[in-house]
């Protein structure tokens, strides 16, 4: 913005202010009405939706699928879109950090004098695109199931392992055949053809990358789980 643009803006603003109304009571009245709406909405949500407790946190239990609060869905979904393991840091930290820096520094690279959205096509388009992208990713996150059932035929000796995998919530991040979500974790449909049994066990126990560790599972369940997974070839 050139110095004369700044001067013009300040003069225009001074005139607009002179033609305006005092903050009290006009703006205060609108703000109070809005505050009332906010508190009524919050109380209504509390009464209708409540704040029920889930089961108590238990490192050895496997019946829960990790799910963030809904307004973090869009971040979690970025992980599903960007799949290769070597790119995971870009999805987890890289993209959010870049977006935050771009957002923080916005006034320093968008320095034009124009303020009307219809005359700032690049900024307005970028803004609308960001809203659509975040909305779409949130929608994906909200509709992606957290299935705890696996619908597939397996040999009887792997039935127990299938139940452990389903109960441990592996499908929140992994796909097995037609079941489960496409990422952030790798597809497990043919895991045994790529990864030996020992490596599968190590992964389950360590929890590489963003995956939680399942080393607190009882040994029997761990064995059943590894039997089932190493049968998938």
């Amino acid at each position: 913005m050139k110095p004369q643009d700044k001067q013009a803006y300040l003069e225009e603003y001074e005139l607009l202010k002179k033609k305006g109304k005092p903050f009290f009571p006009y703006a205060v009245l609108k703000d109070s009405a809005m505050a009332l709406i906010v508190v009524v909405v919050i109380i209504a949500m509390s009464v209708i939706l409540g704040a029920e407790q889930g089961p108590k946190a238990d490192p050895t239990s496997t019946t829960y699928v990790p799910r963030p609060e809904w307004y973090f869905f869009f971040l979690f979904e970025v992980l599903r879109v960007i799949k290769p393991p070597e790119l995971v840091p870009i999805a987890t930290i890289g993209i959010p950090t870049i977006c935050m820096v771009l957002l923080l520094l916005l006034p320093f690279y968008d320095r034009g004098a124009e303020r009307r959205p219809e005359r700032r096509p690049i900024a307005t388009t970028a803004g609308i695109f960001t809203i659509i992208a975040m909305g779409y990713l949130t929608f994906l996150g909200a509709t992606s199931g957290s299935p705890t059932e696996i619908d597939m035929e397996v040999a009887p000796q792997y039935e127990a392992g299938k139940e452990v995998v389903a109960g441990a919530g592996c499908l929140a991040c992994h796909k097995i055949g037609e079941n489960g979500n496409h990422g952030p974790g790798p597809d497990l449909t043919h895991i045994a053809s790529r990864v030996p049994r020992a490596a599968i066990i190590r992964s389950v126990e360590i929890g590489p990358g963003i995956m939680p560790s399942f080393r607190d599972l009882p040994q029997k369940k761990l064995d059943e789980l590894s039997d089932f997974l190493s049968s998938l070839d």
Partner: protein
């Protein structure tokens, strides 16, 4: 939308600090001139009770004057309350104060929850059950805190959207945009750390994944996740750490930055919608009338008439 119009506020409604009432018996007449009734009937002597009553009447103004002499607060207050907001200010401009109000709801409900919550891995879950089932209105306050966070996040994004599309982050308000983005990040930090506190399965496993996500970051990532986890496994120390961040560190920073944000709002003023112009080009307003309207509430002509 119909324009909001309010009748002119009578003086009696104006907050007391803004005008000190004239003391009885003072003012009104020039020095040395007796009021008319004094000539006919001498005034009754004030009784002690009356004098006390007068003093009591003046007390609020005197106290405020005392405070004002030492702080200059009334000047600031009048400046803040009666500053003009520019022409065209509409309901979109309530989103910022609505976000602030949502934060206040979070702060108040949070204080009440803290009175009953125990930040220990063994007792946290039971203390939340206690709040939900036994504390009077506990379930309501807990629900308000839980859903209030969603409302606050939505409002903060709407407020940011308004600022973005109206170009309100441009000169001279760049710094306030930066403060706002930091407030957004801090609000998300509150959401992340608060999620673990109920210590149920959902919060436990989601926090593990969240901490692991931080751990994949380049260079600082592993240190960050170690710091958050406060140990090899998510457990009691993690909970205390999240509790301290959620209760002390981030709220303190948020309150300080909201103060800075609002100081700049008052100092720089809120923007007008970008399509509003000070002069309407089609309606030709005579300059004299415009000036009169600006200067003296449209009373210009009548003043002129009485002077002649």
């Amino acid at each position: 939308m119909p324009k909001l119009r309010l009748p002119k506020i009578p003086d009696s409604v104006v907050p007391a600090p803004l005008r000190k009432p004239a003391k009885p018996g003072r003012g009104g007449l020039p020095k040395g001139q007796a009021p008319a009734d004094l000539k006919t009937a001498p005034p009754e002597r004030q009784t002690d009770v009356q004098r006390l009553g007068d003093k009591a009447k003046d007390a609020p103004a005197d106290v405020l004057a005392w405070v004002d002499q030492r702080t200059g607060a009334t000047g600031f207050l009048t400046g803040m309350l009666y500053r003009k907001v520019p022409k065209g200010t509409n309901w979109f401009y309530t989103l910022g104060s609505a976000t602030l109000f949502a934060f206040i709801v979070q702060a108040v409900t949070g204080v009440f929850l803290a009175m009953f919550y125990t930040p220990s891995a063994t007792q946290a879950y039971a203390s939340i059950s206690h709040i939900n089932n036994e504390v009077p209105l506990g379930a309501l306050v807990h629900g308000m805190h839980k859903w209030g966070s969603s409302v606050m996040v939505i409002l903060i994004f709407l407020h940011m959207g308004r600022t973005f599309f109206f170009g309100a982050y441009k000169y001279p308000r760049e710094l306030n945009w930066v403060i706002g983005v930091v407030l957004l990040i801090l609000t998300m930090t509150m959401a992340f750390t608060g999620y673990l506190l109920p210590f149920d399965q959902r919060s436990f496993w989601a926090s593990i994944v969240g901490i692991n996500i931080n751990g994949t970051g380049p260079i600082v990532g592993p240190y960050l996740s170690d710091f958050l986890r406060a140990g090899p496994e998510l457990g009691a120390t993690t909970l205390s750490r999240f509790y301290a961040i959620h209760m002390l560190l981030v709220p303190g920073a948020i309150i300080a930055l909201i103060g800075a944000h609002m100081y700049l709002v008052v100092k720089l003023g809120t923007t007008a919608p970008p399509w509003v112009r000070a002069e309407k080009p089609k309606v030709a307003t005579p300059v004299a009338e415009l000036d009169a309207g600006v200067e003296g509430n449209g009373a210009g002509p009548s003043n002129g008439a009485s002077a002649t």
